[in-house]
């Protein structure tokens, strides 16, 4: 299944939009974003909007299928309009000029691949090379073309333990890609250790046990406890330590980056600081 899981709370993706129009929309929105006053930023909304439109396109097909399956009769709008008597348009004093048709451009095939990765990124999913190999013919050529294409420079990679993952920096942050790759690696002990170290170094902060029970990790309390028990037996994780704060909440931290005393202090909840 090309589009994988759907996460609760994320926009759903049911089909790939036409790659040419999607990319043109992305670029148009990007230009609009650049024209925004004082805004030096790439407008992430453009990619989300493209994903939304793709989603809507897919949803409408599903919706029509559901309607047909239910056996409900629905009058086609054009049929309905065709049955209506002609009425003179009083306001049509200037005949509309026929729209100039742009010549159809054949989109390069690697754009479709890039758009697929973008849409998955917008849906909070990195895209594994193994998955692509199983779904896409001529993948190596497409990946080469994508890497050489300036319009695809938002497509980045991150190496996981078992696979190489692609994501779009236009819709997914590097740190989130790191998290999702760790999730895809499906090695809870390693993931917990890496995130505990990352949080201790970056914020700095100790990591509550419940951190891994919440989205996007969604691991059970038992799984987290089991992983922590295993971690304690492994030499490479001896910098990971446990503390309990003043509200009996349990945390993990890395002694590479935090002293036990400071880790406890910044994990304690101070009253009246809400």
């Amino acid at each position: 299944m090309l589009f994988g899981r759907r996460k609760k709370g994320f926009s759903t993706v049911a089909a790939v939009t036409d790659p040419k129009s999607a990319v043109e929309e992305l670029q148009a929105d990007e230009m609009a974003a650049k024209k925004k006053p004082k805004s030096p930023t790439f407008d992430i909304d453009s990619a989300a909007e493209a994903a939304r439109k793709a989603n809507e396109a897919g949803a409408s097909v599903e919706s029509a299928q559901e309607t047909m399956a239910a056996g409900e009769e629905k009058v086609d709008l054009f049929d309905f309009l065709a049955q209506q008597p002609d009425v003179e348009d009083q306001f049509a004093d200037i005949p509309a000029e026929p729209e100039e048709q742009e010549p159809e451009i054949q989109a390069p095939a690697h754009w479709k691949l890039a758009e697929y990765i973008r849409i998955r990124s917008a849906n909070a999913q990195v895209t594994g090379l193994i998955l692509l190999k199983s779904e896409v013919e001529g993948l190596e050529e497409l990946l080469e073309a994508m890497a050489a294409d300036e319009t695809c420079k938002d497509i980045a990679t991150r190496q996981g333990a078992k696979d190489l993952y692609y994501y779009s920096t236009a819709t997914m942050s590097d740190n989130y890609a790191m998290i999702d790759v760790l999730i895809q690696d499906d090695d809870l002990v390693s993931m917990m250790a890496q995130m505990v170290r990352f949080n201790a170094k970056t914020y700095p902060a100790a990591t509550p046990f419940f951190y891994f029970q919440r989205p996007p990790y969604n691991r059970s309390k038992a799984e987290v406890e089991q992983a922590w028990a295993a971690m304690q037996t492994m030499e490479q994780y001896q910098d990971i330590q446990e503390l309990t704060n003043n509200e009996n909440t349990r945390f993990l931290y890395s002694t590479q980056y935090l002293t036990p005393r400071y880790a406890k202090a910044i994990s304690d909840v101070d009253l009246f600081t809400d």
Binding site: G9, I44, A124, L271, T273, D274
Partner: protein, 711 residues
């Protein structure tokens, strides 16, 4: 009246003694911006500190600034200025409230209401554009605010916005509020100030508009703010849980950008859960899902009770979570609730030593108890003084019986329904609140203020020095810490010293509480405010010039917000959620909005000067009050003296050691010296010098202080 932009142009004056209602041109107060600044000038000119706060001539001044009602985001605020009856010195003080009533006042055509006099009978003030009248409110005198507001709307119409005082205000309980029915409340004792005047409530309907000088610019700035700068509540700039577009999130899972995939409005009328989902920072259509305040306050269990997120006029950050707490029906208590911040946080303090039992869902005990508290205090119009009422109550309720009866007597002590407390029954807190609001029994002195309670119970000044978790008073003035040293090192201690109530300054906690990495936020702050201004959490450094300047900046900025009138939880736009902006906000935006709305040119430096001018005015009136009521105008020793626990808590730590927020005495003396010097205040007394006041055009105040022998 000349055409004016931003400002409505008129001031409403109401004399409750005579029934006189007049208007005047408000243009002369534009140099004080409006709201707080305007009210301070009026208060000084017309109701000097020599008056008793309950004197017939005492004023209550409602002020709404030029930005409210103009379309500027996060501007649905109103400032109310009056005299404190409960904090040391009985000086000038402000209440602040959000909702929709402030903008309605602007739409009705007024920048403020100056209320004087005392009515012979309970009345309410009805404002419908230029039709203004005082109406009989005898029918709801003695009633709670919810019933009163409903009655006011029945009398006037659904298009009106209503706010009323409760029994606490009527009974002149100093901890009292003015409330809407949606949790918007002005505190600081405004309920008693209005209750003394027999003014039960206000209803306003405005059908006009606020004229804006450059509406296209306002729209352009608003779009820029929505797409690039605004974060969650308190402008927290990273989400509480990881979101795919965001590099960072709050590791604790707790900040005020609480909306996240899987977190829901779970108690919607149609039973369909609404998932907050992801909210990419520049997806302006999802901003309102960011602040799932109930989850911030109570954790994931809150979702079971959340109907939706509500909030103030012109604000996309919906920080008033609306709940249906159906377990309370079992106790014949109201089940609907809408509130934010303090009223919902510490109701459980009324149950010291009791392990509260869950009501319906695992982990909902504290939430249900706290929301029962929230509804009851709002109904009674009882103010919490930023948790002092909860802390003082907890202290008392924790006392052994033999000690407690020494304060309130055996008969009253035994009349309390203690079984309800031990059972974790929400009716316990409701009964306590009722007694406090009605002034019933000796225990109710808690609602007269911490200082009044200490006097009644014979507690020494040192009672405020203790570090036992039920004391948050930074000074000896009767009001507590508000985002002070625990979040903002010496800077927070300094800015807590300026006011006659808790300071209500959020300029720093918006950053320290955001959940972003320290180094990211430090860069933002140092780029704006200079090297060394921003300490790491619980790893403080000695005072320096930039920390002092930051403290003054915070107070001046807050003063501008309460004058213009903007929400200080959201403004200024210091941070941004945008990685492309390196998470830097735009401090100039509020000045740009002032220019676009009023047609006058403002810079951020101008706004700082306005804010400092208000600070000097506040200090002058505080000095006069202390001279009159405390027999000393040395504010450094009488007003700004710091309580012992600030320096003596956490005995295992030394100041500036990693792991503590305790301050150092000598360092703070130096900090105060530096701050007074920076402000142009006398270092020995902490009072503005004549030269400083003259530099800000306050010659009359300089002369007044000299005539009184204060400078």
């Amino acid at each position: 009246m000349a055409e004016t932009f931003g400002w409505a142009g008129k001031l409403l004056r109401v004399d409750l003694s005579t029934g006189s209602i007049t208007t005047e041109d408000s243009a002369k107060y534009q140099e004080y911006i409006g709201g707080m600044g305007m009210a301070y000038r009026i208060m000084y000119d017309e109701a000097p500190m020599d008056l008793d706060p309950y004197d017939e001539k005492a004023l209550v001044i409602f002020g709404v600034g030029p930005l409210t009602g103009s379309g500027v985001p996060c501007s649905g605020r109103m400032n109310i200025t009056f005299r404190s009856t409960w904090s040391k010195g009985h000086s000038i003080v402000d209440a602040h409230m959000g909702g929709h009533i402030g903008p309605q006042l602007k739409y009705a055509g007024y920048d403020g209401i100056v209320v004087t006099g005392i009515s012979a009978k309970p009345v309410y003030l009805k404002i419908e554009d230029d039709k203004v009248s005082l109406e009989d409110a005898s029918a709801v005198w003695g009633k709670g605010t919810f019933e009163s507001n409903a009655w006011l709307i029945e009398q006037t119409g659904r298009e009106f916005e209503a706010a009323s005082i409760g029994p606490a205000g009527e009974n002149l309980m100093d901890y009292s509020t003015l409330n809407t029915s949606f949790g918007n409340a002005g505190g600081a004792g405004v309920g008693a100030a209005l209750g003394n005047k027999k003014l039960k409530g206000i209803v306003i309907r405005g059908t006009g508009t606020v004229k804006v000088a450059d509406p296209k610019k306002v729209l352009e700035l608003s779009s820029y703010m929505m797409g690039n700068l605004i974060g969650g509540n308190n402008n927290h700039n990273v989400p509480a849980l990881p979101q795919s577009w965001a590099e960072f999130s709050a590791v604790s899972g707790k900040n005020r950008w609480s909306g996240a995939p899987g977190r829901v409005w779970g108690h919607t009328p149609d039973g369909e859960e609404i998932d907050a989902g992801e909210q990419p920072y520049n997806d302006i259509n999802k901003i309102a899902y960011r602040c799932l305040k109930g989850v911030f306050d109570f954790g994931e269990v809150a979702s079971n009770y959340i109907i939706k997120s509500g909030g103030c006029q012109s604000c996309p950050i919906r920080c008033y979570t609306q709940y249906e707490i159906d377990p309370l029906a079992e106790y014949d208590l109201p089940i609907h609730n809408s509130n934010t911040c303090m009223p919902v946080l510490y109701g459980n303090y009324a149950y010291p030593g009791v392990e509260l039992k869950d009501f319906k869902y695992e982990g909902d005990a504290k939430m249900v108890i706290n929301l029962a508290w929230s509804h009851a205090v709002d109904d009674m119009g009882l103010w919490d003084n930023y948790g002092n009422i909860n802390r003082d109550l907890k202290w008392f309720l924790s006392l052994p019986r033999e000690e407690a009866v020494g304060y309130i007597g055996e008969e009253e002590y035994d009349s309390l329904p203690w079984d309800w407390m031990h059972d974790g029954d929400p009716r316990w807190e409701v009964e306590i609140i009722r007694r406090l609001a009605m002034g019933e029994g000796k225990l109710s002195v808690i609602a007269k203020g911490t200082l009044a309670m200490m006097e009644a119970f014979g507690l020494p000044k040192e009672w405020l020095d203790r570090a036992d978790g039920t004391n948050s008073n930074l000074m000896y003035c009767g009001f507590p810490n508000h985002h002070g040293p625990a979040e903002a090192w010496q800077t927070g201690m300094l800015y807590n010293m300026f006011y006659n109530r808790d300071c209500m300054i959020h300029e720093i906690v918006c950053e320290t509480g955001s959940g972003a990495p320290y180094e990211v936020t430090k860069k933002v702050m140092e780029d704006f405010f200079g090297e060394g201004c921003y300490d790491k959490s619980k790893a403080y450094t000695p005072i320096n010039e930039n920390k002092v300047k930051l403290a003054i900046y915070c107070a001046a900025d807050k003063n501008f917000h309460d004058s213009s009138t903007l929400c200080n939880w959201m403004w200024p736009m210091t941070q941004s959620p945008s990685k492309e902006r390196d998470y830097h906000g735009d401090l100039d935006l509020q000045a740009d909005f002032m220019t676009a709305v009023t047609g006058k040119t403002y810079t951020q430096d101008d706004l700082q000067e306005f804010g400092k001018k208000i600070l000097h005015m506040l200090r002058v009136m505080t000095a006069i009050s202390f001279k009159l009521n405390c027999d000393s105008a040395n504010l450094r020793t009488e007003h700004d003296a710091i309580t012992g626990w600030v320096f003596d808590k956490e005995p295992d730590f030394k100041p500036f050691e990693e792991g503590t927020t305790k301050l150092d005495r000598e360092d703070m003396k130096k900090a105060m010296d530096m701050m007074y010097t920076e402000l142009g205040w006398d270092v020995e007394t902490g009072i503005p010098t004549a030269e400083t006041l003259k530099a800000y055009g306050l010659e009359d105040m300089a002369k007044d202080l000299a005539d009184r022998g204060i400078i």
